[in-house]
Protein backbone atom coordinates (compact mmCIF):
# COMPACT_ATOMS: atom_id res chain seq x y z
CA UNK A 1 0.00 0.00 0.00
CA UNK A 2 2.73 2.41 1.09
CA UNK A 3 4.87 1.32 -1.84
CA UNK A 4 2.05 2.00 -4.29
CA UNK A 5 1.50 5.48 -2.83
CA UNK A 6 5.24 6.20 -3.04
CA UNK A 7 5.23 4.95 -6.63
CA UNK A 8 2.19 7.12 -7.41
CA UNK A 9 3.82 10.21 -5.91
CA UNK A 10 7.02 9.51 -7.85
CA UNK A 11 5.10 9.26 -11.13
CA UNK A 12 3.13 12.39 -10.19
CA UNK A 13 6.34 14.34 -9.63
CA UNK A 14 7.78 13.07 -12.90
CA UNK A 15 4.59 13.99 -14.78
CA UNK A 16 4.66 17.45 -13.16
CA UNK A 17 8.29 17.92 -14.22
CA UNK A 18 7.52 16.85 -17.78
CA UNK A 19 4.56 19.22 -17.85
CA UNK A 20 6.78 22.08 -16.67
CA UNK A 21 9.19 21.51 -19.54
CA UNK A 22 6.24 21.14 -21.93
CA UNK A 23 4.67 24.45 -20.85
CA UNK A 24 7.96 26.33 -21.21
CA UNK A 25 8.72 24.83 -24.64
CA UNK A 26 5.14 25.42 -25.84
CA UNK A 27 5.22 29.09 -24.97
CA UNK A 28 8.65 29.73 -26.48
CA UNK A 29 7.61 27.83 -29.62
CA UNK A 30 4.44 29.84 -30.02
CA UNK A 31 6.29 33.12 -29.43
CA UNK A 32 9.01 32.31 -31.97
CA UNK A 33 6.26 31.54 -34.45
CA UNK A 34 4.10 34.49 -33.30
CA UNK A 35 1.20 32.13 -32.78
CA UNK A 36 -1.60 32.98 -30.38
CA UNK A 37 -3.13 36.40 -29.81
CA UNK A 38 0.01 38.56 -30.28
CA UNK A 39 -0.04 37.37 -33.90
CA UNK A 40 -2.75 39.96 -34.54
CA UNK A 41 -0.09 42.68 -34.25
CA UNK A 42 2.39 40.86 -36.48
CA UNK A 43 -0.33 40.60 -39.10
CA UNK A 44 -1.47 44.18 -38.55
CA UNK A 45 1.97 45.87 -38.65
CA UNK A 46 2.53 45.79 -42.45
CA UNK A 47 -1.00 47.12 -42.95
CA UNK A 48 0.02 50.16 -40.86
CA UNK A 49 3.20 50.59 -42.89
CA UNK A 50 5.61 48.75 -40.60
CA UNK A 51 7.40 46.07 -42.64
CA UNK A 52 9.06 43.46 -40.41
CA UNK A 53 11.04 40.22 -40.33
CA UNK A 54 8.97 38.46 -37.63
CA UNK A 55 7.81 34.89 -38.28
CA UNK A 56 4.05 34.73 -38.72
CA UNK A 57 2.38 31.36 -38.31
CA UNK A 58 -1.04 31.60 -36.69
CA UNK A 59 -2.06 28.07 -37.64
CA UNK A 60 -4.88 28.24 -35.11
CA UNK A 61 -5.24 29.31 -31.51
CA UNK A 62 -2.64 27.56 -29.39
CA UNK A 63 -5.10 25.23 -27.60
CA UNK A 64 -6.58 23.61 -30.76
CA UNK A 65 -3.18 23.54 -32.46
CA UNK A 66 -1.59 21.73 -29.53
CA UNK A 67 -4.68 19.57 -29.13
CA UNK A 68 -4.07 18.41 -32.70
CA UNK A 69 -0.32 17.90 -32.46
CA UNK A 70 -0.34 16.11 -29.13
CA UNK A 71 -3.36 13.94 -29.97
CA UNK A 72 -1.55 13.08 -33.21
CA UNK A 73 1.71 12.26 -31.40
CA UNK A 74 -0.14 10.27 -28.73
CA UNK A 75 -2.28 8.44 -31.31
CA UNK A 76 0.74 7.42 -33.36
CA UNK A 77 2.65 6.37 -30.24
CA UNK A 78 -0.38 4.32 -29.22
CA UNK A 79 -0.41 2.60 -32.61
CA UNK A 80 3.32 1.84 -32.32
CA UNK A 81 2.78 0.48 -28.81
CA UNK A 82 0.06 -1.80 -30.16
CA UNK A 83 2.66 -3.04 -32.67
CA UNK A 84 4.79 -4.14 -29.66
CA UNK A 85 7.41 -1.45 -30.26
CA UNK A 86 9.45 -0.42 -27.22
CA UNK A 87 7.51 2.36 -25.36
CA UNK A 88 10.34 4.93 -25.41
CA UNK A 89 10.86 4.40 -29.14
CA UNK A 90 7.10 4.53 -29.75
CA UNK A 91 6.81 7.86 -27.90
CA UNK A 92 9.76 9.36 -29.80
CA UNK A 93 8.48 8.13 -33.17
CA UNK A 94 4.94 9.39 -32.53
CA UNK A 95 6.20 12.79 -31.41
CA UNK A 96 8.60 13.06 -34.37
CA UNK A 97 5.85 12.41 -36.89
CA UNK A 98 3.58 14.94 -35.18
CA UNK A 99 6.38 17.52 -35.38
CA UNK A 100 6.55 17.10 -39.15
CA UNK A 101 2.86 17.99 -39.33
CA UNK A 102 3.59 21.05 -37.19
CA UNK A 103 6.42 21.95 -39.58
CA UNK A 104 4.14 21.68 -42.61
CA UNK A 105 1.53 23.86 -40.92
CA UNK A 106 4.18 26.41 -39.90
CA UNK A 107 5.52 26.63 -43.46
CA UNK A 108 2.15 26.97 -45.16
CA UNK A 109 0.94 29.42 -42.50
CA UNK A 110 4.00 31.67 -42.93
CA UNK A 111 3.82 31.61 -46.72
CA UNK A 112 0.06 32.06 -46.84
CA UNK A 113 -0.27 34.76 -44.23
CA UNK A 114 2.74 36.75 -45.42
CA UNK A 115 1.75 36.47 -49.08
CA UNK A 116 -1.66 37.89 -48.16
CA UNK A 117 0.18 41.04 -47.04
CA UNK A 118 1.85 41.54 -50.45
CA UNK A 119 -0.31 44.53 -51.32
CA UNK A 120 1.05 46.32 -48.23
CA UNK A 121 4.62 45.69 -49.44
CA UNK A 122 5.50 42.92 -46.97
CA UNK A 123 7.98 40.52 -48.64
CA UNK A 124 8.13 36.77 -48.01
CA UNK A 125 11.65 36.26 -46.62
CA UNK A 126 12.89 32.81 -47.63
CA UNK A 127 15.82 32.99 -45.19
CA UNK A 128 13.34 33.57 -42.34
CA UNK A 129 11.40 30.51 -43.44
CA UNK A 130 14.58 28.44 -43.59
CA UNK A 131 16.01 29.50 -40.25
CA UNK A 132 12.87 29.89 -38.09
CA UNK A 133 10.79 26.88 -39.08
CA UNK A 134 13.33 24.37 -37.79
CA UNK A 135 13.62 26.28 -34.52
CA UNK A 136 9.86 26.21 -33.93
CA UNK A 137 9.86 22.52 -34.86
CA UNK A 138 12.60 21.79 -32.33
CA UNK A 139 10.70 23.56 -29.57
CA UNK A 140 7.47 21.89 -30.65
CA UNK A 141 9.17 18.50 -30.43
CA UNK A 142 10.16 19.15 -26.83
CA UNK A 143 6.60 20.24 -25.97
CA UNK A 144 4.96 17.32 -27.80
CA UNK A 145 7.35 14.63 -26.58
CA UNK A 146 7.14 15.68 -22.94
CA UNK A 147 3.34 15.94 -23.01
CA UNK A 148 2.89 12.60 -24.79
CA UNK A 149 5.27 10.97 -22.31
CA UNK A 150 3.32 12.54 -19.44
CA UNK A 151 0.08 11.15 -20.89
CA UNK A 152 1.71 7.73 -21.23
CA UNK A 153 2.74 7.80 -17.56
CA UNK A 154 -0.75 8.88 -16.48
CA UNK A 155 -2.28 6.03 -18.48
CA UNK A 156 0.24 3.22 -17.98
CA UNK A 157 1.59 3.92 -14.49
CA UNK A 158 -1.24 5.75 -12.73
CA UNK A 159 -4.04 3.81 -14.44
CA UNK A 160 -6.21 6.60 -15.85
CA UNK A 161 -9.03 4.99 -17.88
CA UNK A 162 -8.66 7.24 -20.98
CA UNK A 163 -6.60 5.76 -23.82
CA UNK A 164 -3.46 7.64 -24.89
CA UNK A 165 -4.92 9.65 -27.83
CA UNK A 166 -7.84 10.88 -25.71
CA UNK A 167 -5.45 11.95 -22.94
CA UNK A 168 -3.42 13.63 -25.67
CA UNK A 169 -6.30 15.83 -26.81
CA UNK A 170 -7.36 16.66 -23.22
CA UNK A 171 -3.88 17.68 -22.06
CA UNK A 172 -2.93 19.19 -25.43
CA UNK A 173 -5.82 21.66 -25.24
CA UNK A 174 -5.06 22.34 -21.55
CA UNK A 175 -1.38 22.91 -22.40
CA UNK A 176 -2.25 25.40 -25.13
CA UNK A 177 -4.75 27.16 -22.85
CA UNK A 178 -2.32 27.49 -19.93
CA UNK A 179 0.60 28.48 -22.16
CA UNK A 180 -1.29 31.09 -24.15
CA UNK A 181 -2.99 32.57 -21.07
CA UNK A 182 0.28 33.00 -19.18
CA UNK A 183 2.81 33.66 -21.92
CA UNK A 184 0.87 35.76 -24.47
CA UNK A 185 0.81 39.07 -22.56
CA UNK A 186 4.54 38.90 -21.89
CA UNK A 187 5.32 38.50 -25.58
CA UNK A 188 2.47 40.65 -26.88
CA UNK A 189 3.00 43.66 -24.63
CA UNK A 190 6.46 43.40 -23.21
CA UNK A 191 8.35 42.30 -26.31
CA UNK A 192 6.41 43.49 -29.33
CA UNK A 193 5.81 46.87 -27.71
CA UNK A 194 9.14 47.33 -25.96
CA UNK A 195 9.10 50.92 -27.24
CA UNK A 196 6.02 51.72 -25.15
CA UNK A 197 6.04 52.73 -21.49
CA UNK A 198 6.81 49.99 -18.96
CA UNK A 199 4.04 49.44 -16.43
CA UNK A 200 1.15 50.47 -18.66
CA UNK A 201 -0.96 48.79 -21.31
CA UNK A 202 -0.36 49.54 -24.98
CA UNK A 203 -2.54 52.49 -26.02
CA UNK A 204 -4.96 51.35 -28.71
CA UNK A 205 -3.64 54.14 -30.98
CA UNK A 206 -0.19 52.45 -31.01
CA UNK A 207 -1.55 49.17 -32.42
CA UNK A 208 0.59 47.80 -35.22
CA UNK A 209 3.70 49.81 -34.32
CA UNK A 210 5.67 46.78 -33.15
CA UNK A 211 9.41 46.91 -32.47
CA UNK A 212 11.20 45.86 -35.66
CA UNK A 213 14.85 46.61 -34.97
CA UNK A 214 17.30 44.83 -32.70
CA UNK A 215 20.68 45.86 -31.25
CA UNK A 216 22.17 45.16 -34.68
CA UNK A 217 20.01 44.99 -37.77
CA UNK A 218 16.40 43.96 -37.92
CA UNK A 219 14.77 41.99 -35.15
CA UNK A 220 13.72 38.44 -35.95
CA UNK A 221 11.79 35.79 -34.08
CA UNK A 222 14.88 34.11 -32.63
CA UNK A 223 15.39 37.28 -30.58
CA UNK A 224 11.79 36.94 -29.43
CA UNK A 225 12.39 33.33 -28.38
CA UNK A 226 15.34 34.48 -26.29
CA UNK A 227 13.17 37.12 -24.61
CA UNK A 228 10.25 34.75 -23.91
CA UNK A 229 12.60 32.19 -22.40
CA UNK A 230 13.40 34.71 -19.65
CA UNK A 231 9.96 34.85 -17.99
CA UNK A 232 6.97 34.03 -20.20
CA UNK A 233 8.19 30.52 -21.01
CA UNK A 234 9.23 29.48 -17.50
CA UNK A 235 6.05 30.99 -16.00
CA UNK A 236 3.90 29.06 -18.50
CA UNK A 237 5.90 25.95 -17.63
CA UNK A 238 5.41 26.33 -13.89
CA UNK A 239 1.70 27.07 -14.50
CA UNK A 240 1.10 23.92 -16.55
CA UNK A 241 3.40 21.88 -14.30
CA UNK A 242 1.45 22.91 -11.21
CA UNK A 243 -1.88 22.14 -12.90
CA UNK A 244 -0.76 18.62 -13.78
CA UNK A 245 1.10 17.96 -10.53
CA UNK A 246 -1.63 19.19 -8.18
CA UNK A 247 -4.42 17.48 -10.15
CA UNK A 248 -2.57 14.15 -10.00
CA UNK A 249 -1.33 14.67 -6.45
CA UNK A 250 -4.77 15.29 -4.96
CA UNK A 251 -6.14 12.23 -6.76
CA UNK A 252 -3.28 9.82 -5.99
CA UNK A 253 -3.08 10.73 -2.29
CA UNK A 254 -6.66 11.60 -1.35
CA UNK A 255 -8.88 9.60 -3.71
CA UNK A 256 -9.43 6.85 -1.14
CA UNK A 257 -10.10 9.26 1.74
CA UNK A 258 -13.77 9.72 2.64
CA UNK A 259 -14.95 7.64 -0.38
CA UNK A 260 -13.81 10.26 -2.90
CA UNK A 261 -14.57 13.43 -0.91
CA UNK A 262 -10.93 13.67 0.25
CA UNK A 263 -9.69 14.61 -3.22
CA UNK A 264 -12.54 17.12 -3.57
CA UNK A 265 -11.80 18.83 -0.24
CA UNK A 266 -8.08 18.96 -1.07
CA UNK A 267 -8.89 20.44 -4.50
CA UNK A 268 -11.04 23.17 -2.90
CA UNK A 269 -8.25 23.96 -0.41
CA UNK A 270 -5.75 24.31 -3.28
CA UNK A 271 -8.16 26.60 -5.17
CA UNK A 272 -8.55 28.79 -2.06
CA UNK A 273 -4.77 28.94 -1.56
CA UNK A 274 -4.26 30.15 -5.14
CA UNK A 275 -7.09 32.63 -4.69
CA UNK A 276 -5.34 34.12 -1.64
CA UNK A 277 -2.00 34.30 -3.51
CA UNK A 278 -3.72 36.04 -6.44
CA UNK A 279 -5.36 38.59 -4.16
CA UNK A 280 -2.06 39.20 -2.37
CA UNK A 281 -0.29 39.93 -5.67
CA UNK A 282 -3.15 42.21 -6.78
CA UNK A 283 -3.03 44.25 -3.55
CA UNK A 284 0.79 44.34 -3.67
CA UNK A 285 0.64 45.79 -7.18
CA UNK A 286 -1.93 48.42 -6.21
CA UNK A 287 0.21 49.52 -3.25
CA UNK A 288 3.56 49.51 -5.03
CA UNK A 289 2.67 50.73 -8.49
CA UNK A 290 0.12 53.27 -7.38
CA UNK A 291 -2.69 54.74 -9.47
CA UNK A 292 -1.99 56.18 -12.92
CA UNK A 293 -4.16 59.20 -12.15
CA UNK A 294 -5.51 60.59 -8.90
CA UNK A 295 -9.01 59.34 -8.03
CA UNK A 296 -10.50 62.88 -7.91
CA UNK A 297 -9.29 63.60 -11.45
CA UNK A 298 -11.09 60.59 -12.80
CA UNK A 299 -14.33 61.44 -11.03
CA UNK A 300 -14.34 65.00 -12.35
Amino acid sequence: MVESIVFGIGITALAGALATVAGAAENVESDIGSQGDPNSQVQLAPQMGYIHRIFNKAVAGEPPAYGLWIALGAGLAWAFLAMQINPILALVLGSSLAVFVQGVYATTAYLGRTASLAKFGQPVYVDILKSMTTVTMAHAFVAIFTTVTMCYLINAALGHPFPLPLLGIVWGIALGAAGSATGNPFYGKERQYQNQKYGAGVPIAASGNIVRFAEAGERNSLDNGWFSARLGGPASGVCFGLIVFLELWRTVLFEEVGSGWGAIVMGIIIILVFMVIDRYIEVWARKNYGPFVKPEETSS
Binding site: W171, K189, V202, I204, G260
Partner: protein, 280 residues
Protein backbone atom coordinates in the same frame (compact mmCIF):
# COMPACT_ATOMS: atom_id res chain seq x y z
CA UNK B 1 -36.02 40.07 -45.73
CA UNK B 2 -32.43 40.33 -46.88
CA UNK B 3 -29.52 40.23 -44.51
CA UNK B 4 -28.86 43.91 -45.18
CA UNK B 5 -32.41 44.90 -44.31
CA UNK B 6 -32.48 42.78 -41.16
CA UNK B 7 -32.23 44.77 -37.97
CA UNK B 8 -29.38 43.76 -35.71
CA UNK B 9 -30.84 42.32 -32.50
CA UNK B 10 -29.94 44.06 -29.28
CA UNK B 11 -27.05 42.57 -27.34
CA UNK B 12 -28.85 40.79 -24.53
CA UNK B 13 -32.35 40.45 -25.96
CA UNK B 14 -33.94 37.07 -26.46
CA UNK B 15 -35.37 36.55 -29.93
CA UNK B 16 -38.86 35.25 -29.08
CA UNK B 17 -39.41 33.36 -32.36
CA UNK B 18 -35.99 31.70 -32.22
CA UNK B 19 -36.49 30.79 -28.56
CA UNK B 20 -39.88 29.20 -29.24
CA UNK B 21 -38.50 27.26 -32.21
CA UNK B 22 -35.56 26.13 -30.06
CA UNK B 23 -37.81 24.94 -27.24
CA UNK B 24 -40.04 23.09 -29.74
CA UNK B 25 -37.00 21.29 -31.24
CA UNK B 26 -35.84 20.44 -27.71
CA UNK B 27 -39.24 18.99 -26.74
CA UNK B 28 -39.48 17.06 -30.01
CA UNK B 29 -36.05 15.48 -29.46
CA UNK B 30 -36.89 14.58 -25.85
CA UNK B 31 -40.29 13.14 -26.88
CA UNK B 32 -38.71 11.22 -29.76
CA UNK B 33 -36.11 9.70 -27.45
CA UNK B 34 -38.80 8.75 -24.93
CA UNK B 35 -40.86 7.19 -27.72
CA UNK B 36 -37.90 5.25 -29.15
CA UNK B 37 -36.14 4.01 -26.02
CA UNK B 38 -38.66 4.40 -23.18
CA UNK B 39 -38.02 5.83 -19.72
CA UNK B 40 -34.85 3.81 -19.06
CA UNK B 41 -31.15 4.52 -18.82
CA UNK B 42 -30.92 5.94 -22.35
CA UNK B 43 -33.59 8.56 -21.65
CA UNK B 44 -31.88 9.54 -18.41
CA UNK B 45 -28.62 9.82 -20.36
CA UNK B 46 -30.23 12.34 -22.73
CA UNK B 47 -31.48 14.43 -19.80
CA UNK B 48 -28.01 14.26 -18.23
CA UNK B 49 -26.39 15.37 -21.50
CA UNK B 50 -28.77 18.34 -21.81
CA UNK B 51 -28.12 19.40 -18.19
CA UNK B 52 -24.37 18.94 -18.70
CA UNK B 53 -24.44 21.02 -21.89
CA UNK B 54 -26.34 23.81 -20.13
CA UNK B 55 -23.77 23.79 -17.29
CA UNK B 56 -20.93 24.11 -19.82
CA UNK B 57 -22.57 26.97 -21.76
CA UNK B 58 -23.48 28.82 -18.56
CA UNK B 59 -19.97 28.32 -17.15
CA UNK B 60 -18.26 29.74 -20.24
CA UNK B 61 -19.94 33.11 -19.54
CA UNK B 62 -18.05 33.40 -16.24
CA UNK B 63 -14.60 32.97 -17.78
CA UNK B 64 -12.83 36.32 -18.23
CA UNK B 65 -11.44 36.33 -21.74
CA UNK B 66 -9.69 39.29 -23.33
CA UNK B 67 -8.43 37.75 -26.56
CA UNK B 68 -5.86 39.67 -28.61
CA UNK B 69 -6.31 43.07 -26.85
CA UNK B 70 -5.51 41.40 -23.51
CA UNK B 71 -2.18 40.22 -24.92
CA UNK B 72 -1.22 43.88 -25.41
CA UNK B 73 -2.60 44.98 -22.05
CA UNK B 74 -5.35 46.90 -23.87
CA UNK B 75 -8.31 45.09 -22.31
CA UNK B 76 -8.88 43.05 -19.16
CA UNK B 77 -9.12 39.27 -19.21
CA UNK B 78 -7.03 36.29 -20.15
CA UNK B 79 -5.20 36.58 -23.47
CA UNK B 80 -6.78 33.69 -25.33
CA UNK B 81 -10.08 32.65 -26.92
CA UNK B 82 -13.29 32.08 -24.93
CA UNK B 83 -14.03 28.59 -26.19
CA UNK B 84 -10.44 27.44 -25.94
CA UNK B 85 -9.82 28.50 -22.39
CA UNK B 86 -13.11 27.05 -21.23
CA UNK B 87 -12.28 23.84 -23.08
CA UNK B 88 -8.87 23.67 -21.41
CA UNK B 89 -10.45 23.97 -17.97
CA UNK B 90 -13.45 21.76 -18.66
CA UNK B 91 -11.38 18.98 -20.15
CA UNK B 92 -8.98 19.08 -17.20
CA UNK B 93 -12.12 18.62 -15.06
CA UNK B 94 -13.33 15.78 -17.28
CA UNK B 95 -9.94 14.12 -16.75
CA UNK B 96 -10.43 14.21 -12.97
CA UNK B 97 -14.07 13.13 -13.14
CA UNK B 98 -13.32 10.19 -15.42
CA UNK B 99 -10.62 9.08 -13.02
CA UNK B 100 -12.95 9.28 -10.05
CA UNK B 101 -15.56 7.27 -11.97
CA UNK B 102 -13.16 4.32 -11.85
CA UNK B 103 -13.27 4.05 -8.08
CA UNK B 104 -16.77 5.17 -7.10
CA UNK B 105 -20.34 4.90 -8.37
CA UNK B 106 -21.51 7.98 -6.51
CA UNK B 107 -22.63 10.39 -9.25
CA UNK B 108 -22.31 13.42 -6.97
CA UNK B 109 -18.69 12.61 -6.05
CA UNK B 110 -17.76 12.07 -9.70
CA UNK B 111 -19.36 15.29 -10.95
CA UNK B 112 -17.99 17.39 -8.07
CA UNK B 113 -14.51 15.90 -8.62
CA UNK B 114 -14.74 16.98 -12.27
CA UNK B 115 -15.92 20.44 -11.22
CA UNK B 116 -13.03 20.88 -8.79
CA UNK B 117 -10.57 19.73 -11.49
CA UNK B 118 -11.81 22.48 -13.83
CA UNK B 119 -11.78 25.05 -11.02
CA UNK B 120 -8.24 24.06 -10.05
CA UNK B 121 -6.98 24.53 -13.60
CA UNK B 122 -8.54 28.00 -13.78
CA UNK B 123 -7.36 29.00 -10.29
CA UNK B 124 -3.74 28.23 -11.17
CA UNK B 125 -3.92 29.74 -14.68
CA UNK B 126 -5.58 32.97 -13.51
CA UNK B 127 -3.04 33.34 -10.69
CA UNK B 128 -0.24 33.12 -13.25
CA UNK B 129 -1.95 35.69 -15.46
CA UNK B 130 -1.89 38.14 -12.53
CA UNK B 131 1.71 37.12 -11.79
CA UNK B 132 2.85 37.92 -15.35
CA UNK B 133 0.96 41.21 -15.48
CA UNK B 134 2.30 42.40 -12.14
CA UNK B 135 5.85 41.06 -12.04
CA UNK B 136 6.55 40.66 -15.76
CA UNK B 137 4.95 43.81 -17.10
CA UNK B 138 4.52 45.99 -14.02
CA UNK B 139 0.81 46.51 -14.71
CA UNK B 140 -1.82 46.49 -11.91
CA UNK B 141 -5.25 44.96 -12.53
CA UNK B 142 -8.04 47.28 -13.63
CA UNK B 143 -11.52 46.56 -14.91
CA UNK B 144 -12.90 48.52 -17.83
CA UNK B 145 -16.55 47.71 -17.17
CA UNK B 146 -17.10 48.62 -13.51
CA UNK B 147 -15.85 51.48 -11.32
CA UNK B 148 -15.48 49.24 -8.26
CA UNK B 149 -14.72 45.55 -7.93
CA UNK B 150 -18.04 44.06 -6.70
CA UNK B 151 -16.23 41.65 -4.33
CA UNK B 152 -13.33 43.64 -2.91
CA UNK B 153 -14.68 47.16 -3.42
CA UNK B 154 -11.36 48.25 -4.97
CA UNK B 155 -11.69 51.27 -7.24
CA UNK B 156 -10.67 50.50 -10.79
CA UNK B 157 -10.68 53.64 -12.93
CA UNK B 158 -7.49 55.27 -11.62
CA UNK B 159 -5.48 52.09 -12.19
CA UNK B 160 -6.42 51.99 -15.86
CA UNK B 161 -3.52 53.16 -18.02
CA UNK B 162 -4.06 55.78 -20.68
CA UNK B 163 -5.58 54.70 -23.96
CA UNK B 164 -6.66 51.24 -22.75
CA UNK B 165 -9.91 49.66 -21.59
CA UNK B 166 -8.23 48.22 -18.50
CA UNK B 167 -5.94 45.24 -18.06
CA UNK B 168 -5.20 42.14 -16.03
CA UNK B 169 -7.64 40.19 -13.92
CA UNK B 170 -9.45 42.13 -11.18
CA UNK B 171 -10.48 39.82 -8.33
CA UNK B 172 -14.07 39.51 -9.57
CA UNK B 173 -12.72 38.22 -12.89
CA UNK B 174 -10.49 35.74 -11.04
CA UNK B 175 -13.47 34.41 -9.09
CA UNK B 176 -15.48 34.30 -12.33
CA UNK B 177 -12.75 32.22 -13.95
CA UNK B 178 -12.79 29.70 -11.12
CA UNK B 179 -16.61 29.49 -11.18
CA UNK B 180 -16.48 28.99 -14.97
CA UNK B 181 -13.99 26.16 -14.51
CA UNK B 182 -16.22 24.56 -11.86
CA UNK B 183 -19.29 24.65 -14.12
CA UNK B 184 -17.34 23.47 -17.16
CA UNK B 185 -15.74 20.58 -15.32
CA UNK B 186 -19.07 19.52 -13.82
CA UNK B 187 -20.91 19.71 -17.16
CA UNK B 188 -18.28 17.79 -19.11
CA UNK B 189 -18.07 15.10 -16.45
CA UNK B 190 -21.86 14.74 -16.25
CA UNK B 191 -22.06 14.17 -20.02
CA UNK B 192 -19.24 11.62 -19.80
CA UNK B 193 -20.62 9.65 -16.89
CA UNK B 194 -24.17 9.44 -18.30
CA UNK B 195 -22.85 8.11 -21.61
CA UNK B 196 -20.40 5.75 -19.89
CA UNK B 197 -23.18 4.16 -17.81
CA UNK B 198 -25.32 3.73 -20.92
CA UNK B 199 -22.53 2.23 -23.02
CA UNK B 200 -21.46 -0.11 -20.19
CA UNK B 201 -25.04 -1.37 -20.03
CA UNK B 202 -25.77 -1.70 -23.74
CA UNK B 203 -22.47 -2.59 -25.43
CA UNK B 204 -21.93 -6.10 -23.95
CA UNK B 205 -25.30 -7.25 -25.40
CA UNK B 206 -24.72 -5.52 -28.73
CA UNK B 207 -21.22 -6.86 -29.23
CA UNK B 208 -21.87 -10.20 -27.55
CA UNK B 209 -18.91 -9.70 -25.23
CA UNK B 210 -18.14 -9.54 -21.52
CA UNK B 211 -18.54 -6.19 -19.71
CA UNK B 212 -14.80 -6.12 -18.94
CA UNK B 213 -14.01 -6.51 -22.64
CA UNK B 214 -16.18 -3.61 -23.75
CA UNK B 215 -15.10 -1.27 -20.95
CA UNK B 216 -12.19 0.32 -22.92
CA UNK B 217 -14.52 0.88 -25.89
CA UNK B 218 -17.19 2.36 -23.63
CA UNK B 219 -14.67 4.70 -21.96
CA UNK B 220 -13.25 5.82 -25.31
CA UNK B 221 -16.64 6.42 -26.90
CA UNK B 222 -18.00 8.28 -23.88
CA UNK B 223 -14.80 10.34 -23.63
CA UNK B 224 -14.91 11.29 -27.32
CA UNK B 225 -18.57 12.28 -27.20
CA UNK B 226 -18.02 14.23 -23.97
CA UNK B 227 -15.11 16.21 -25.50
CA UNK B 228 -17.12 16.81 -28.69
CA UNK B 229 -20.23 18.00 -26.87
CA UNK B 230 -18.10 20.12 -24.58
CA UNK B 231 -16.62 21.92 -27.58
CA UNK B 232 -20.07 22.34 -29.19
CA UNK B 233 -21.39 24.07 -26.09
CA UNK B 234 -18.25 26.11 -25.45
CA UNK B 235 -18.22 27.42 -29.03
CA UNK B 236 -21.97 28.20 -28.92
CA UNK B 237 -21.44 30.22 -25.75
CA UNK B 238 -18.44 31.96 -27.32
CA UNK B 239 -20.61 33.09 -30.25
CA UNK B 240 -23.13 34.41 -27.76
CA UNK B 241 -20.41 36.40 -26.00
CA UNK B 242 -18.94 37.69 -29.30
CA UNK B 243 -15.28 38.26 -28.58
CA UNK B 244 -14.35 39.24 -25.08
CA UNK B 245 -15.97 39.24 -21.64
CA UNK B 246 -14.64 40.32 -18.26
CA UNK B 247 -16.61 37.92 -16.09
CA UNK B 248 -19.90 37.90 -14.17
CA UNK B 249 -19.86 41.72 -13.74
CA UNK B 250 -19.66 42.33 -17.51
CA UNK B 251 -22.94 43.51 -19.11
CA UNK B 252 -22.48 40.76 -21.72
CA UNK B 253 -22.97 38.19 -18.93
CA UNK B 254 -26.72 38.97 -19.04
CA UNK B 255 -26.86 37.28 -22.44
CA UNK B 256 -26.59 33.83 -20.87
CA UNK B 257 -30.30 32.84 -21.11
CA UNK B 258 -29.94 32.83 -24.90
CA UNK B 259 -26.95 30.46 -24.68
CA UNK B 260 -28.83 28.16 -22.32
CA UNK B 261 -31.68 27.67 -24.80
CA UNK B 262 -29.23 27.19 -27.66
CA UNK B 263 -27.04 24.75 -25.78
CA UNK B 264 -30.04 22.74 -24.57
CA UNK B 265 -31.15 22.29 -28.18
CA UNK B 266 -27.63 21.52 -29.46
CA UNK B 267 -26.95 19.07 -26.62
CA UNK B 268 -30.27 17.32 -27.23
CA UNK B 269 -29.56 16.90 -30.95
CA UNK B 270 -25.97 15.70 -30.30
CA UNK B 271 -27.17 13.58 -27.40
CA UNK B 272 -29.76 11.67 -29.40
CA UNK B 273 -27.00 10.71 -31.89
CA UNK B 274 -24.74 9.52 -29.06
CA UNK B 275 -27.60 7.46 -27.62
CA UNK B 276 -28.92 6.00 -30.86
CA UNK B 277 -25.61 4.30 -31.67
CA UNK B 278 -26.34 1.80 -28.90
CA UNK B 279 -29.95 2.12 -27.82
CA UNK B 280 -31.91 1.36 -30.98
Amino acid sequence: MSAVAAKPTAGGAMDVTATIIGIIILLVVIALTYFLVGPGLAFMALIGIIVGGILVAFGVHFVPVGGAPAAMGQAPGIATGVAMLAAGAGLAGLFGGAWAAQTTDNLLVIVVTGAVGGGLMMAITCMFVTFIYVFGMGIPNASGKVAKDPITGDTQTEYKSQGTEGHGLPFISYVGGVIGGLFGGAGGTLIYIMLLNLYNEELPGMMNALPAQVLPIAVTLAGMFAIGMFLVNAVLAAYNITGTIEGPHDPKFKRFPRAIVASAVASAVCGIVAIMIVAV
